[in-house]
Assembly symmetry: C2
Homo-oligomer: 329 residues x 2
């Protein structure tokens, strides 16, 4: 019987249990993967804690991103064949379809092939990060050549994806990180400029870098008091995408800069892309192309074995990572 | 010598002085109006108080909107002729070109003809209100048939313009007002629904009216604590336009509804339209057409004589008006 990860109560990383469970047959519209690698996301930490958009029904599986080989298909899944090498697009209920484990059943619409040049570990580090960044920067933000993009929380996998997507369209990134220790990594990862927010004033530094113009697009998962600084750093007509809530403090809406500069502050999540077939199709094409040419290249921070899933979650919560944490199966 | 209005210190309405001043000759790119009517705006109250985007250089004239007859033209103004019946589009510095008085010199680009069927009083009540509403609802908000539009502070002249523009494109308006006393007026002015916020819960009422959907566009000059309610009342993908700062309290950015529903909160002022020739041209055409057909019809609350300008300002600050306050000359 395959090993799967399940939790019986919400709480710290230690609630995650590895147990054997009978192989599940896919129903209509579903396919089953023999999982090779699992990409970890903050969404799973929040789901495990009972603080996610979706509330777990206990006991619950979890996990959005797996790469693997299709080993069974349900009726009505003609596009997918046994033996296909695919990874999953987070577009389903984690409770119903969590992918942490050696085997996972997911909706057929949620799997996509990835370029052969990528390993399974890399395949598990594609869709969440690149689709999230694609939706804000390209689909809605329409970032083009020479635009300035401010990317906060620069070491996260989504920020890495945003840096690469920005570069791939000829725009310029300014990336923030709290401490100086990650600056060299971020420059190496393709950032055009890095601001160390513990040492530098964000808005002043952005003004210096952009010759007083400010940035055209902001891509931020923090919010809280930072939002005011982001509005200061924004150019006239800029859009600030808020895609997370990492700050525990409320954000004051920056009314006066918004009026003076015609700013847009837009709440955004990946669901806006994966629930809209036309947007998802454009995103998949954009990302597949970028991965094939090497313009996009998943940054893997570290891998853990499945039996160390608790340790892997603790590591994610420690915020030491630079790029994606992947569990190998 | 023509009478003009000037103030020598910022402060209450009583700082406004009527004095005689020599007739000014228009310079290059300028035209002079023999003023027939002046439309009053909250911007002038704030300018007079020293609380506007632009700070007055004392002594200062003031005023954005006048209707009149061109009685002199400077060089380089070939589109405008002496005798033209025009009104002014607020697209200039109030300190440099304030229009309160019997004579006013303004940039030639800032005057526009208005339909003959309108009186001068109505002509002074066009561009600020209709262009402001046009920019948010049509140019940026792309309001179309059957959309739901929530319009707050419903008795203001800009809100009246928004109600009419909403109706003119086949969309549906929900209009808010604090007290029940203005409800009948707003229904008569074309609102599809009116919510009395002193008596009803805004978000609940919007849900009832829209069968749970929420509104697609919000047009709000208040901000402050209201912003959270507006986000509750918003449909997925909605845009909330903030075009003023009537609330003295800060607004908390509604992060969680914004994430869950993909909401946009956009700071907006008329300057985004009047400073962009293509947008301004579209706006002028849209409004001229609507005025000609009668789909748009300026609502005049009350007129004052020029000598009662102090009283007119006090009346504006009392918030009793329903529509535009106009000074006749």
């Amino acid at each position: 019987m395959p090993k799967i990860v399940r939790f019986y109560e919400t709480g710290g990383a230690e609630v995650l249990k590895i147990e054997e469970s009978p192989l599940v047959e896919p129903r209509e519209g579903e396919v089953r993967l023999k999982v090779e690698a699992i990409g970890l996301n903050r969404a799973e930490v929040m789901f495990r804690q009972g603080q996610y958009l979706e509330t777990p029904e206990l006991p619950s599986r979890l996990g959005y991103e797996a790469a693997g080989i299709v080993d069974a298909v349900g009726p009505g899944t003609s596009d997918i064949k046994i033996g296909d090498r695919v990874s999953t697009i987070p577009s389903f209920s984690m409770g119903a379809y969590g992918v942490y484990g050696e085997s996972a059943v997911v909706p057929a619409y949620a799997v996509a092939k990835y370029p052969e040049r990528l390993s399974a570990v890399e395949g598990a580090a594609i869709w969440m990060q690149y689709l999230t960044a694609f939706g804000a920067l390209i689909e809605f933000g329409q970032v083009q050549k020479d635009a300035w993009v401010l990317i906060t929380a620069g070491s996260s996998s989504v920020a890495q994806a945003a840096i690469q997507i920005t570069k791939s369209v000829g725009a310029r990134s300014i990336v923030t990180t709290r401490g100086a220790d990650k600056k060299a990594f971020l420059m190496g990862a393709g950032a055009d400029h890095v601001i160390v927010t513990d040492e530098e004033d964000l808005a002043e530094s952005v003004k210096d870098i952009t010759s007083g113009n400010g940035v055209n697009v902001v891509f931020d998962p923090i919010a809280g008091p930072l939002l005011g600084k982001l509005a200061e750093a924004a150019a006239p007509g800029a859009t600030i995408f808020e895609y997370g809530a990492l700050s525990p403090s409320p954000a004051v809406y920056p009314l006066f800069p918004a009026l003076a500069k015609g700013l847009t502050v837009r709440g955004y999540t990946l669901f806006e892309i994966v629930k809209a077939p036309d947007k998802l199709a454009r995103g998949k094409q954009f990302i597949y192309n970028g991965l094939e040419t090497g313009a996009l290249n998943p940054v893997i921070d570290r891998t853990f074995a499945l039996e160390n899933i608790v340790e892997a979650h603790r590591y994610m919560e420690s915020n030491q990572q630079k790029g994606k944490i992947v569990v190998t199966v």
